[in-house]
Amino acid sequence: MKPAPFTYARPADWPAALALLAEGARPVAGGQSLGPMLNLRLALPERVADLRHLPGYAGVSMQGETVRIGAGTTHAAIEDGVVPGRLGEILAGVARRIAYRPVRNRGTIGGSFAHADPAADWCAVLPALPGHAIALGPEGERRIPLAEFVLGVFETALRGDELLRAIELSALPPATHFGHWKFCRKPGEFSKATACVLATPGAAPTAVLAALDAAPLVIADASALLADPTAEAARLVATLALEDPWRAALARTALRHAAEAAR
């Protein structure tokens, strides 16, 4: 038994969950990031509020061309194709490379995004996609553009009285190209450099560079990167003035590979 003592609450509905949050409870979803932090006593909550049994917390629904993914949807469900269409294919490919299957069976897209580990895969991919994070607070739902959600290392645009409720994404046409590349010495290990590039027909391509020990770098128009991956990756990484030469080299490589795969 390694964590410090805490009490456990299982809210039955969203108002109860928000009330617990207001009283200072720490939300827990899959527990695949919070669990290690509790065991290592890096997190010392007095009370945890288990979100997993909230109505509609997991699962995917379609509203026209918008796909709404409940924050409690697991990486494994996404890997297994719970999101339809080309968007679902892209997300499934990302999910499969997160951690290991037993971790993916519990870990959730919302928990990962809200945790905002700079090396986390959803933090490296969602900001490239057109859509919003849906925050739920005492006044109801608030939409935060995905590119503006992660603000720093373990820091997001969620307010202290808000929970991440869902991720809303636009469906993608079948001809959408996507490249995703990360550097891990072993499958499932946290990445040392991650990049992705999304090229949707009829829209400006977007890109993200992550695992930077900082907020991800979101490139709203990645046309230059697609046109000349090597030169533009070098230019972009130079602007970051990274201290370690190996990190800069990995970041350039990640951007170049992702761009080449998205062409």
């Binding site: 003592p5 669990g35 065991n39 037993p102």
Partner: protein, 157 residues
């Protein structure tokens, strides 16, 4: 807190501090010591058991979250056909030495066989990346799983 869960098909009610993780609950309260603990932060895979039908790290599920769950540990697979085949194959291929990693390996191996019937060696190795073995060098484990996959494909065709 008092929690009720089903372990290997039998309902159990136990009193536990909320900070107790499932592996300690299984080993300490229910005396099911087949579940092993290595790292206690999700990395080594030794503690992997089935929770609600899918493999999960028992070191990362604390007591409250277990309330109402259905858990199957290495002791609970009995005559399950896939597990029987895996046990025989692990033995034939020398897929264990000290055996510390084996309960977690078997739970994950069974999931691979059932979920990915067409897995090749590269895929089996990728899927095993979350289970560390300090003895065997993995070759025997990979061969044992590939053997069960191949014989099931043979039986299906």
């Amino acid at each position: 807190m008092s929690i009720t869960l089903t372990v290997n098909g039998t309902p159990a009610t136990v009193a536990a501090e909320p900070r107790t993780h499932l592996a300690d609950l299984l080993r300490g309260e229910l005396l099911l010591t087949g579940t092993h603990l290595g790292c206690e932060h999700g990395v080594c895979g030794a503690c992997t058991v089935e929770v609600d039908g899918a493999p999960a790290r028992s070191c990362l599920i604390h007591a409250g979250a277990c309330d109402g769950a259905s858990v199957r540990t290495i002791e609970g697979f009995g005559e399950d056909a896939v597990m029987v085949a895996l046990r025989e194959s692990f033995s034939a291929e020398h897929a264990l030495q000290c055996g510390y990693c084996t309960p977690g390996m078997l739970v994950v191996a069974r999931d691979i066989v059932l979920r990915l019937p067409d897995a090749d060696e590269a895929r089996v190795r990728e899927e095993l990346a979350g289970n560390l073995c300090r003895c065997t060098g993995y070759r025997g484990i990979v061969r044992a799983i590939l053997g069960v996959l191949a014989s099931r494909r043979g039986a299906a065709s």
